[in-house]
């Protein structure tokens, strides 16, 4: 499975998929696909397609247990992007402050 951040961003660019993913994050546990599709006003086929896209992006995992298929949110990939952004947000804030101080000193 490719765990590409571009895929993640594309996967969550669709509002339905965002909602699906959100529902699974809130659930915080594996949910049967039948239960998930009951919550959404889309065909079972449509749900399956969206879930596949989320699965390909590494955002959810789908497992089969008995006759039922379960899906579960994997939030770690999103955390990666968030970590990168928050690290550099802080980095550049600090640096631009230093640039300001430097310019003020250099009258």
């Amino acid at each position: 499975m490719q765990d590409n951040i571009t895929k993640i961003l594309k996967a969550i660019s669709d509002p339905t998929r965002r909602e699906l993913f959100h529902a699974l994050v809130i659930a915080a546990t594996a949910l049967p696909i039948t239960q998930v599709s009951a919550q959404f006003n889309i065909t079972r086929q449509g749900i399956t397609k969206h879930l596949k896209t989320l699965e390909n992006a590494g955002l959810i995992t789908i497992t089969t247990s008995g006759r039922e298929r379960f899906c579960k949110a994997e939030a770690a990939p999103l955390q990666e992007v968030k970590n990168w952004v928050s690290f550099y947000e802080k980095f550049w804030d600090t640096k631009l402050d230093q640039l300001g101080d430097f310019l003020d000193q250099k009258e």
Binding site: Q2, D3, N4, I5, T6, I8, L9, I12, G58, P77, L78, E80, V81, K82, N83, W84, V85, F87, Y88, E89, F91, W92, D93, T94, K95, L96, Q98, L99, G100, D101, F102, L103, Q105, K106
Partner: protein, 141 residues
């Protein structure tokens, strides 16, 4: 979710002075990170943070025409390349600086994790150390 960092800051200083601060090797080394740098397209620069435990940053100057400066940003030990872009604009009362850091989306998640871990270990400490150092200089001066 956003994957671009954008900053906007106003400095009460002439545009040429701000431009010099972000392009001149000696000045970059004073306020940013000790640098080997030339504002010339194609120049392979390096930023060497204080202390041996910090990963140096290197990259190539992609554009350097007043008042736009773009360079690639590679943390050594990690193949991941992101892009840093500085744009200056003359405004009433000084200079507006736009900074953009982008490119995380081009990479595989695992690489991103690795990169971030290397930051956690070294870079945060380096930053704290560096700002302390700069504060000392300012207070001493």
């Amino acid at each position: 979710m956003k994957d671009i960092i954008s900053k906007e800051q106003l400095f009460n200083h002439p545009i040429q002075k701000v431009w010099d601060a972000i392009t001149n090797q000696e000045q970059i080394s004073t306020w940013f990170i000790p640098a080997t740098f030339k504002a010339e397209k194609g120049f392979q620069y390096s930023f060497n943070a204080a202390g041996g435990e910090c990963s140096p940053i290197r990259g190539e100057v992609l554009e350097a025409t007043p008042y736009t400066l773009i360079y690639s940003w590679i943390v050594t030990e990690n193949p991941m390349e992101t892009i840093v872009k500085w744009v200056l604009e003359e405004v009433e009362g000084g200079t507006k600086l736009y900074l953009e850091h982008s490119g995380i989306s081009n990479y595989h998640g695992e690489t991103a994790i690795e990169m971030f871990q290397s930051f956690n270990g070294g870079w945060d400490n380096c930053l704290t150390g560096l700002s302390g150092y700069l504060k000392d200089i300012v207070h001493a001066g």
